[in-house]
């Protein structure tokens, strides 16, 4: 069942990269958010990947080849000090006229998003290649 397992592995890769992309998009959307329910400016989040043993409903307990996929193990908040900008007229300004903005580098976020997109794409290509192999296997019967 190696080939079918590897489909599952690639699917897990797609899922993980997608979560990563979604997190980045959330970060970017909140790049200027000064107000959050917890108080203070928005804190950007990062995902942490870890390997994940894949089991499939089709494989039995005796399956000795387990496939290593990936999952999002943790979502980590960026706890660095916020970026202070001098805007005395701002409703969220403190006593000295400084407003706390999320510490974020848009260029970094974009680069990360590109990475997630390439990672996602890599898994899509892997699925296509494996599907092709499976079809060739079936073809032997024809």
């Amino acid at each position: 069942m190696s080939l079918f397992n590897s489909l599952q592995v690639s699917a897990s890769g797609m899922s993980a990269q997608r979560t990563r992309a979604e997190m980045i998009v959330e970060n970017m959307a909140n790049a200027e958010t000064t107000r959050t329910p917890e108080g203070g400016p928005y804190k950007r989040k990062d995902v942490v990947f870890a390997t994940d043993l894949q089991t499939s409903p089709f494989s039995s307990v005796f399956q000795n080849e387990l496939a290593e996929g990936v999952r999002v193990a943790q979502v980590v908040q960026d706890n660095r000090a916020p970026e202070m900008r001098y805007l005395p007229g701002h409703p969220d300004a403190d006593a000295n006229g400084y407003v706390a903005f999320p510490r974020m580098n848009p260029a970094e976020e974009m680069t990360d998003l590109l990475g997630a997109s390439r990672g996602y794409q890599g898994n899509v290509v892997a699925i296509a290649a494996v599907k092709d192999m499976i079809n060739h296997s079936i073809d032997i019967l024809r």
Partner: protein, 111 residues
């Protein structure tokens, strides 16, 4: 027909699909911190075809390690992905051809 060549091709395909599974894992874990690229020693496993034992997983030497400990090289994995698929498909086509020849012989004999 039911001969050594088909046996060898079958073993070849077994190894290729085991290898492809590892390639898929490597690609899925291309951004996992600390993950080490995995492979099988293809030549060794093919020469020592002892029955249906699953091949042993080995680490790959000579890969550059990124700051987070991950050493997956997407270029290598992409190349392997294509190569494994091509070889696998070729082997299955050869086997299919072999079977087709036998079928023809059977059909011819029916007259």
């Amino acid at each position: 027909m039911l001969n050594g060549l088909t046996q060898n091709l079958q073993r070849y395909m077994d190894l290729l699909s085991a290898r492809q599974k590892l390639v898929a894992s490597n690609i899925a874990n291309a951004d996992t911190p600390g993950y080490q690229t995995q492979d099988i020693d293809f030549q060794f496993e093919y020469q020592n075809a002892m029955g249906d034992l699953p091949p042993a997983t080995v680490n790959v030497p000579g890969l550059k390690t990124k700051p987070d400990g991950n050493n997956v090289d997407m270029d290598r994995e992409s190349r392997l992905l294509s190569e494994n698929a091509l070889r696998f498909n070729l082997a299955s086509t050869l086997i299919k051809g072999d079977f087709k020849a036998v079928r023809s012989a059977i059909e011819e004999g029916k007259s």
